[in-house]
Subunit: 78 residues, 2 copies
């Protein structure tokens, strides 16, 4: 409840970034490994995870594919 509250109050980019970081770590991947699998730059992925990037749909899809999730699942709870 508290967590959901905090998530909902923060910026969408931050919420998405936190979600990606959590899912990446759950899989035991470093930012570098993950970025490589996504075909994205590590610094870009770092920026996404910190909520500094207004990431567009094509890159969101790459992230979902790498995590083997649907877009809907990736967006779950944010």
């Amino acid at each position: 409840m508290t967590t959901i509250g905090i998530m909902a109050d923060s910026d969408i980019l931050e919420r998405f970034g936190e979600r990606v970081r959590k899912l990446r770590k759950k899989r035991g991947w470093s930012q570098e490994e993950f970025a490589h699998q996504c075909g994205l730059d590590r610094t870009y992925v770092g920026g996404v995870e910190r909520g500094e990037r207004n990431i567009a749909l094509r890159n969101i899809e790459r992230i979902a594919e790498t995590l083997e999730m649907t877009l809907s699942q990736l967006m779950g709870g944010i």
Copy 2:
């Protein structure tokens, strides 16, 4: 089944655009009314619906809010 097959084969931007158009029409809104409610330009929304725009997360959120859906619901089935 056929529809799902077609959806999955087409480009993510097209799938997202079709999804938005369908949800907008379901609510009986014109593109202009919808764009206004989203705080976006009508021509931009038209481009999104045609799959011509690699829409970024902040604008995806505006669309979800206007449709009164979560991001996960908006991304459902695409």
